[in-house]
């Protein structure tokens, strides 16, 4: 289970006033579920992911991955977490085969054993043919898939996917959505950030609507639509955001 409990996070620039980016945000994502974070730019989605991945400290509240406190037991929590970053963040001159193998080996003992595991991950995402080309020459969609394969290194039970289909063509988006659904069916907890309400409606068991670092609404898509009296999640989302203003 992925849990953020009353998480507070401020940014304190040197020459400017502190900015409250997460204001007592609570989110829970159970095993086998997809929870979507929906919100405009600057809502705090990426910051929440970074807190859950142990990259940023909480200034209040707690973040836990399968019961392991991210601040107190960072390595234990990190071993159980796969992070798909907003940008693929791949080394341009290295190949997907090396890069994914490297990340498998960081999480599991044995460099030799990491090779076949990395190959299986690449094959799962249809990347076998691209595995030995430098990451820098791959298409955006392929890079995204390589980054997803990296996030799956070590078979983590908790996945944090930051805008997994952003800027992708229709085929690549559908392929990654199918993979996300499959990962949840395998029993993983999947927390994903997205700007696409249709994607959230089709994939997510729960939707958390964020704005300005606060949770506006949290529930299954159908419940949010019923609560706002709208027939689609996109309309419900817009109604919630408008109500906030």
């Amino acid at each position: 289970m992925i849990e953020a409990i009353e998480v507070i996070r401020r940014f304190e620039p040197r020459r400017a006033a502190p900015v409250l980016v997460l204001d007592r945000v609570s989110v829970a994502c159970r095993a086998g579920e997809v929870t979507a974070l929906l919100g405009p730019n600057g809502a705090g989605k990426t910051t929440l992911f970074r807190v859950l991945a142990g990259l940023l400290r909480c200034h209040g509240g707690r973040a836990r991955i399968l019961g392991h406190d991210v601040a107190a037991a960072r390595e234990e929590a990190a071993r159980r977490t796969g992070l798909l970053t907003e940008e693929p963040a791949l080394p341009e001159r290295l190949t997907p085969r090396w890069h994914v193998r490297f990340h498998v080996a960081l999480r599991e003992p044995g460099w030799a054993e990491a090779g076949p595991k990395a190959d299986r991950l690449l094959a799962r995402l249809g990347l076998s043919a691209e595995a030995d080309r430098p990451c820098g020459v791959l298409s955006r969609g392929t890079r995204r898939k390589v980054a997803l394969a990296r996030a799956l290194a070590g078979e983590p039970p908790a996945l944090l996917l930051d805008e997994p289909t952003a800027s992708l063509d229709i085929e690549s988006s559908l392929s990654i959505r199918a993979e996300i659904a499959s990962l949840a069916r395998e029993g993983r907890a999947v927390l994903m950030a997205t700007h696409d309400a249709h994607e959230a409606e089709s994939l997510a068991d729960r939707v958390v609507v964020l704005r300005g670092g606060r949770v506006l609404a949290d529930g299954p898509p159908g419940e949010l639509m019923a609560r706002t009296g709208r027939s689609s999640l996109q309309e419900a989302y817009l109604a919630l955001q408008k109500g906030r203003r």
Binding site: F11, T47, R50, A53, G54, L55, L56, R57, R74, E75, E76, A78, R79, T81, L83, T85, E87, A89, L90, P91, R93, L94, W98, F102, H103, A105, L106, R107, P109, W111, P134, A147, R150, A151
Partner: protein, 233 residues
Amino acid sequence: MRRALLVAADLAREALTSPRWWMIPPMMGLLLPIQMGVTDGLAAGRGSAVILDLRLWLVTNALWPCLIWLGLAAEILFPRKLRGELEPLLAAPISGRELGLGFALPAAGAAALFVAAGIPATLLGYRMGAGRLPADPAWEAAYLLLAVWADSLVAGAAVLHAFFRAQSAGGFLLRSCLALLPLAAAEGALFMLRGAGRRAACLGLLALMIAGGILLLRWAGSRLDRERLLGRI
């Protein structure tokens, strides 16, 4: 330690995919030391031992290891930081100590290789220039080895600290180059001691520099802050 070695291997592999890194080792590990040795040998053949000391100990020792550290960091590490490519690595189950060691090892390995090639190359060049080896080649080689290691450790600490803390390429270079000031002072002291024939004092100072370098490197490694290393957030 295993994960530190993995990080080091990842960085080294990326460095070796760059054509620039295939040009630097022969140039810095062989051509430059031979050229230094030849010039110093020619000067020594005319009775000028001062030039030998200055060139061999100041130029080769102080700049060479700094350049290796700085080159590797500028080519691989800092661009990764600027491009935001460190995020997946920082999110992996790896401690700050392992990361620091992993970042430091490739440059230390490169320095070791360059020293192994550079010392014989310098002595060979000297022989070519002077028609003979220095009076005590074993002492010269041992001295050079220790001095390069001492400088490597201090330079490595400065580059690692700059990599962890700097938020721009200019800041990174500036912070890294600060190591040259204490190194130049230490090398100057060594030069004076050597000139006065005080070998024991030289070795003592070198031992102090190596111990200080190890402490500095450990301190720099402990300064890793994942938030800061992520860059501007």
